[in-house]
C-alpha cells in the first residue's frame, strides 16, 4: 500500500507511504470570460494562463513546508526524524472538477477583483492576477508584495472564513497586523496556513499525527 489517497470536495490528498511525500492537488475547470476591449481567448492563451497559475502556485506553496509526523504507526516511525515534504498544485480538467474557475481576460491597465466562494467552490480570477501587487502603508512606508493568484489559492487550500481562517487583513482577524503573511497582503507562508490540510491528514493514517515542522 505505497499510497494513501483521500478525495475531498476541494482537493485530493496523496501520501506516499514510502517516501513520505504529501501531495495535494486541485482539479480546476475553467470558464473563459472577456473584459472590455480584449480579443477572444486563443487556445494558447488558455494553456498559458493555466501554466502560469500552476507555476505561481507551485512557487508560493510547494516545497516550502516540512511536516512533522508523530505516533505509533509504521509511517510515523519511518518519517518522524526527517519529517515529510508537502507539495500543492492544480490540474486543468474539463469535468469532475474540485473548483469552477472563471477567468476574465482584461486589458493590462484594467482591474478586476478576484475572489473565491468556499461553499460553492467557485474561483474568479483575471489575467492580471500574475502581476505582483505592492501594498504600502504607514510613515515611513512599509511595503509588502503579493501575487494575487497565490493568495486566492490560499483560500482554496482551506484558509477560509467558513473554517474561521479567512482573509487576515480584516480587522476581525487575529493576524491583522501580520502584513507579511500571504493571507494578509504579503507573500510569506505561516504554519497556520496548513491547518485545514493538517486536519485532513490527521484523519488519513491511524497512529500518525501531522504538524508543521518548519517553513522556508
Amino acid at each position: 500500500m505505497p499510497h494513501i489517497v483521500k478525495k475531498l470536495l476541494w482537493c485530493d490528498i496523496d501520501i506516499d507511504t514510502i517516501t513520505g511525500q504529501v501531495f495535494l492537488q486541485q482539479k480546476w475547470n475553467y470558464t473563459w470570460l472577456l473584459g472590455a476591449g480584449v480579443s477572444a481567448w486563443t487556445s494558447a492563451e488558455k494553456t498559458d494562463f493555466h501554466n502560469r497559475a500552476d507555476t505561481h502556485i507551485w512557487a508560493a506553496w510547494s516545497n516550502r513546508a516540512t511536516l512533522s509526523v508523530t505516533g505509533t504507526s509504521a509511517f510515523a516511525l519511518r518519517h518522524s526524524s526527517a519529517g515529510v515534504p508537502i507539495n500543492l498544485d492544480i490540474r486543468r480538467v474539463t469535468a469532475n472538477e474540485h473548483w469552477d474557475v472563471k477567468v476574465k481576460k482584461i486589458l493590462p491597465a484594467a482591474f478586476e477583483r478576484s475572489n473565491i466562494v468556499w461553499s460553492t467552490r467557485k474561483i474568479n480570477l483575471d489575467t492580471n492576477d500574475f502581476n505582483t501587487r505592492t501594498n504600502c502603508r504607514g510613515t515611513p512606508r512599509v511595503c509588502h508584495k503579493q501575487i494575487p493568484v497565490a493568495h486566492e489559492f490560499g483560500h482554496a487550500a482551506g484558509n477560509t472564513a467558513v473554517l474561521g481562517r479567512g482573509d487576515e487583513y480584516k480587522a476581525s482577524s487575529p493576524h491583522v497586523n501580520d502584513h507579511s503573511s500571504i493571507m494578509n497582503v504579503g507573500s510569506q507562508l505561516k504554519s497556520r496556513h496548513f491547518q485545514t490540510i493538517l486536519d485532513e491528514l490527521n484523519l488519513m493514517i491511524p497512529g500518525a499525527t501531522f504538524t508543521v515542522k518548519g517553513i522556508i
Binding site: K102, N115, V117, R137
Partner: protein, 139 residues
C-alpha cells in the same frame, strides 16, 4: 355542459386569481426596494455603475441606513483585493503623502452585499467605485 368547461369554471379562475396576486406582490416588492436593491443574482461580482457619481445622501435615501460604514485614509490601511480598485483610481504615485479619505459603505441585500466607495468632493461624498458581491465571497 361538458366536463372541460366545468373544470375551467371551478379551478381555472381561482388559480388565475392566485397567480395574479403573487405576480403583483412580487412586482410591488421589487419596486419598493429601489435602485440597487433589486434581488438580482450576485454569484458573479458586478459593478453597479449607475451609482457612480451619486452623493451619499442619495444612496441613503434610496437604500436606507447602511449595514457597515468605515471612513479611512488610504495611506493608513492595507489596500487589499477588495479595495484594489481604489489604488487604481488614486495611485500612491499621485496621492503621495497627502491623506486620501474614503468612505466605504455596505448594504446587506439578502445573500448579496452592495458596497459603495465615496470620495470627498467639496461638501459631498461622491461614489467613485461600486461592487455587488455574494456575502460568502473571500477576496
Amino acid at each position: 355542459m361538458s366536463k372541460i368547461p366545468r373544470i375551467k369554471n371551478i379551478y381555472f379562475y381561482p388559480l388565475t386569481v392566485i397567480f395574479l396576486f403573487f405576480s403583483v406582490a412580487a412586482c410591488s416588492s421589487d419596486n419598493t426596494m429601489g435602485e440597487g436593491m433589486k434581488k438580482t443574482e450576485c454569484a458573479t461580482m458586478t459593478e453597479v455603475r449607475e451609482w457612480l457619481g451619486k452623493k451619499l445622501s442619495q444612496a441613503v435615501e434610496k437604500l436606507g441606513s447602511s449595514s457597515i460604514e468605515k471612513t479611512f485614509d488610504m495611506n493608513d490601511v492595507v489596500i487589499d483585493e477588495f479595495r484594489g480598485k481604489l489604488e487604481v483610481l488614486f495611485p500612491l504615485s499621485s496621492r503621495g503623502n497627502e491623506p486620501k479619505w474614503i468612505k466605504e459603505t455596505s448594504w446587506n441585500q439578502g445573500d448579496c452585499i452592495l458596497t459603495l466607495w465615496f470620495e470627498k468632493q467639496g461638501d459631498n461624498w461622491i461614489v467613485v467605485d461600486t461592487l455587488r458581491w455574494h456575502k460568502d465571497s473571500e477576496f
